[in-house]
Amino acid sequence: MATLPFLGGIFNYTAYGIPYFMWIIIALMLMGIMMVFMWYFFYWVKLTPYHGILWAKLKKFGVSFVFDDNMHFDLITDRSSKVIFAETFKQAQEAENDNTKTPTATIGSSIHCDFIFDPDKWTFPNSYQHKIIEDIAERWNEVHPGDQLRTLVKFARYLHEGKLDEHYADDLKKLKREYIVSWARIRMMYKDREESGTFGFVMTLANIIKDIEASSYNQYAILILILFGGIDILYFVAWFIMRKPV
């Protein structure tokens, strides 16, 4: 009768003074640490420009992609993108007695995300445009306590409606009111498709389809590899457990 140790003797034997099972735990720990490092460098660091989304989720605020006329997008908070003074967007809305919630889209299930066209740097807190807006809004709010002006959306609307022209005309001269979009740009986006534009891709796709159909059985090759890999591992474990004591 042969006497074999439990699980190949991982509780019975030591290597360099440390039991086998401790070596296994150390190996698992190292694998875990390596996994965290890989996750950090290949996933988290890669997403650096969008880390704000995580903070938006944790601190429950919205985000905006602000873009200029060349469609350069910057991800900033809704506070920076929509509010005139140093307060949160919610506080500004409450002061304006406005509870409109119309995000362009949501990221995941709950992070509100807007896209805001701002070629004149209204959302840059240190720009002279923002300072002018701040100044005008401050003066407006003193005169109109019941009609507070605290968000850029409302400021833009009042500017468009001409409500600010009467008293702040000199300051408003320094702000641009509109951006002219050329017809070439509009036509370019909506021009009719030409068949020649897609023909090359159709032919490429035809070749790919032919390749896929030709190698349709080869897609099971990975299953074969997994099957034999599994058999190898099981064999190795069986050998380790059933081997004779040293």
Partner: protein
Amino acid sequence: MVDYVVVPAGMAFDPNTWDYTLLLPIWGWIIIFLLGVGFVVLVAMVYVWIIMRPVSGYGAVGDSTALSKGSPTQVFSIWKNRSFVIECVWYYGNMLAYGNPLTKMQMWFHNSEKATGVSAEKPVMITRDGFDGTVDFIAEMAVCEIPPLFNSQWGFELVPRTDINGRVVIGEDGTPELKEVERKDDNGIQYMLSTFSDIRTRMSLLEKLYPDGVPIPIYKPYDLSEIYRYTPQNQDSLKFGADIVEEAKEWSRDDERNTPGLFDRFGLLIICGICGIASVGMLWYILPIR
């Protein structure tokens, strides 16, 4: 017959160096602590992954797919269910398509280089599921500004008010009373713009009326509901992709050249099978179970 030693006999721990107070030896608590830390780290990683998953296509690291010979491009996708995601889509000579177009058929045609933006120092294209081309936000916003601008100036006209007998009603000042009605052309078609096809039909006229271009507010949020109102109809990205795939399949069927041989069809399968059997055989030879 094999007799297993279930109780670890001759365990290598030295009770003198490891303290067995607090129910477990110290090394047990260390392991539990490390496992706890590992669990917390894992949960945090999964949580971050769930939050960041919608934007994980940033940087467009392409994987090995059917279209992987194209250029991987990061794409902002805004869908009708108001989801926003950043995806990796393959750019293939004017065309944007997912890695395996046979299973995920949406495709977009890249008409305008102005529809390419930059996000975090990387080029980005924008797509929507209701339109089969890449999107230039600014052109879209301009299109939304055209109908109110045109309609307010040209959509209506003032005509004399008439009574039930068709006679012109004269006001107190002696001039005919006027009323605002929709302006119509000689064929009875109204001037007012209400859909994108109206705008497309009158594009030349609009260019003459507003030669400089279309003014849009200097600060304006992109309003998706307004955009969908003036989106070209029957230009759905999924239908566009399905048409392209169908056309490609027809070409593929018609092409009788290069018929695949036996090795093309089964070659990889056979090689993997042989390698697998060989690996088991080698293991049997090196580590025999006796």
